[in-house]
């Protein structure tokens, strides 16, 4: 009789067709585990959330999920997001104050996350599936952190180990390097409770692991670093050399948000072109503006991209499977993040995989610097002062024009060690060993 494949229950709210920035880690985890011989069941957020609430759906992403991965989408309550009064229930429609008080009470006393309704539904769905065919391991990725609560409860009820994957931090504000909640907030109690019981917790960089180890020393020995990485199906590592005649294209590829120093970038670009460095160079923005379609127009205005700026083009979102086209059209990549020592971003791996010059536009001390330091085509400005950024952009432009194949090859070779699968391999092996040990 064939040996039973280990079974993984994976709680990942943001999973294709969502186009949220976190789905790539979740997608790679599910695909990699299934390729390594696991039966993987993913519980994701409901379609309505991606269609109507975030408006951030990309059906092309669904095709990139291994067909062997079983995906279910438990329903959720939309208390915090529902704007259609007709959809309110009788209780909320007649007693909105009481309904809000009840919602807040649950946040305070049950689980402190607005996605709590999905967490409860995922718990029920997970149990139902476990009764039919038992799982061996539960992995939950946050945000939302309701998935951590559900994994903890499932673990207690199913008597199976669980792992929490901190794609984002829960109680640490990564951009301000400060606590996210006041000391009496229930999130602290829950995080301690979850980390005390978890078989492991995964963090995207060592600074994040160290911060959590400092806060929860009792769980420090079970904390692992699983870096983000780049997806070979998304980024082509074929080298394209820039046409000498066409103006250079400086590109930012990713989601624009409030936390990025876009003012510094726009000013630096203006300074560089006005000085005649790389005359006619273009600055292109590929990607969404913000994570919510409804706030896109406001954010665009806030970022100063609603008016026409010479040479600056907002090219809009590119479906992930077609993103290689955006990279191919770019000569220099602008790595702009609101970074801190806790922020790596998944984008930096993708940028490195292209083998193109990368110019950093972020505060000093960003966690991504550790990775970029070994990349031979990295250009780091002395500060975020537009003069410094303009100088770094000009140097990166020179490197793109020079187009040295050896340096580009070294750059791509360096990036090869940072694929998603390379990052996930040790964790998958650890999970396999854990399940094998438990089965005796």
């Amino acid at each position: 009789m064939a040996e039973r494949r280990p079974r993984l229950l994976y709680l990942a709210f943001f999973f294709p067709p969502s186009r949220a920035s976190g789905v790539f880690r979740a997608r790679a985890t599910a695909n990699y585990f299934v390729e390594q011989g696991w039966d993987v069941t993913v519980l994701r957020g409901p379609d309505r959330f991606f269609d109507e609430i975030t408006g951030a759906r990309d059906d092309a992403m669904t095709d990139t999920v291994d067909p062997r991965v079983e995906v279910a989408a438990p329903e959720m309550d939309y208390f915090r997001w529902e704007t259609d009064v007709r959809e309110y229930g009788r209780f909320r429609g007649n007693f909105p104050g009481a309904a809000r008080a009840w919602f807040n009470w649950k946040q305070e006393h049950v689980f402190p996350d607005k996605y709590q309704g999905w967490g409860t539904a995922a718990l029920r769905e997970g149990l139902r599936r476990h009764r039919k065919d038992p799982f061996d391991l539960i992995v939950a990725t946050g945000n939302p952190f309701a998935s951590f609560g559900s994994a903890w409860a499932l673990s207690k009820l199913m008597r199976r180990p669980f792992v929490v994957d901190y794609r984002d931090s829960w109680t640490l504000d990564q951009f301000k390097n400060a606590d996210m909640f006041p000391p009496e907030h229930p999130a602290w109690k829950w995080e301690r409770r979850i980390l005390r019981s978890a078989a492991a917790s995964l963090h995207v960089n060592d600074a994040m692991r160290a911060w959590h180890a400092g806060k929860y020393p009792e769980a420090a020995d079970r904390m692992q670093v699983v870096l983000n990485g780049w997806d070979p199906d998304v980024v082509s590592d074929e080298q394209s050399s820039p046409d000498e005649d066409r103006p250079l294209s400086f590109s930012f590829v990713g989601t624009l948000t409030h936390v990025q120093p876009i003012g510094s970038l726009l000013e630096a670009y203006r300074l560089m072109t006005e000085r005649g460095d790389h005359a006619g160079a273009q600055l292109d923005f590929y990607g969404h503006i913000g994570f919510f379609a409804k706030t896109e127009a406001d954010l665009k205005a806030d970022l100063g991209l609603d008016k026409e700026l010479p040479g600056v083009t907002v090219r809009g979102p590119v479906p992930k499977p077609a993103i290689a086209t955006a990279y191919a059209a770019s000569d220099v990549l602008v790595f702009m993040t609101g970074g801190s020592k806790y922020v790596t971003t998944g984008k930096v791996f993708e940028y490195m995989a292209t083998g193109k010059p990368i110019v950093s536009v972020h505060e000093k001390g960003c966690a991504a610097e550790e990775l970029l330091r070994g990349y031979p085509l990295w250009f780091e400005p002395a500060s975020l002062d537009p003069e410094d950024v303009a100088a770094a952009m000009a140097d990166a432009g020179d490197a793109a024009r020079k187009s040295d194949p050896d340096t580009a090859a070294r750059a791509r070779a360096y990036a090869q060690s940072f694929t998603r699968y390379a990052a996930l391999a040790p964790f998958e092996q650890w999970s396999r060993d854990l399940v094998a040990k438990r089965k005796g």
Partner: protein, 209 residues
């Protein structure tokens, strides 16, 4: 159940329901964006107790008020009369008409009454009335929906939580009517700015219905 037949080629019309004065700055900001684009907005306000110092609604909107009806509810009227208005009026007259010591005593009593009435309002009246107010206003507004001209309206925006019961009633009574919590100016960004962008003089008083 009523149904609404709507002329889709007509000017865009919306109703904003405001039962809480704290959301008026948001409503006015919305009006500043959409009124110059020719969107006609009717604002239904419940400017009853506690609205004396409220911001005025932008003059480009038609404002319908149920504040007087709210003040005439038996519970509200009795509280206002017995605790606030009658003692205030009596003590004011006494202060002005009584000579010497008695007049000064009435003046002191008036000050004490003012403070006591403020405390009673804050700690007794509002804690009791606040949870009942959405239902009370739903009933009052529900009897006057004809004044809103819902047959010509594209959507009703329920701006504050207190207006939700009224909105929920409308949603159930008119199945084709959009009833939303969003004041979404982006819906009208396709319209050119044709009207003046400066707000005209505030219309006062509001139209009582």
């Amino acid at each position: 159940m009523d149904t609404i037949e709507r002329d889709l080629t007509a000017t865009r019309r919306e109703v904003a329901v405001v039962f809480k004065k704290g959301v008026l700055p948001r409503v006015n900001a919305y009006l500043r964006e959409v009124a110059p684009r020719g969107v006609e907005v009717t604002v239904l306000v419940a400017n009853g107790p506690g609205w004396r110092k409220a911001e005025k609604v932008d003059g480009r909107a038609e404002v319908l008020s149920i504040g007087r009806r709210e003040n005439r509810q038996p519970g509200v009227w009795i509280y206002m009369m017995v605790v606030e208005r009658a003692p205030r009026a009596v003590l004011k007259r006494l202060e002005h008409r009584l000579p010497g010591k008695a007049g000064r005593a009435a003046g002191r009593a008036r000050g004490i009454h003012r403070k006591a009435a403020a405390k009673i309002r804050k700690y007794v009246f509002w804690p009791v009335y606040r949870p009942l107010r959405p239902q009370a206003l739903r009933r009052i507004a529900g009897r006057r929906v004809e004044a809103l001209g819902l047959d010509r309206v594209d959507r009703v925006c329920i701006v504050d939580e207190g207006a939700v019961p009224f909105g929920w009633m409308l949603a159930n009574r008119y199945p084709d009517l959009e009833v939303t919590r969003l004041l979404d100016k982006s819906r009208h960004e396709d319209l050119p700015v044709t009207g003046p962008t400066a707000a005209p003089e505030v219309r006062a008083p509001y139209t009582r219905i």
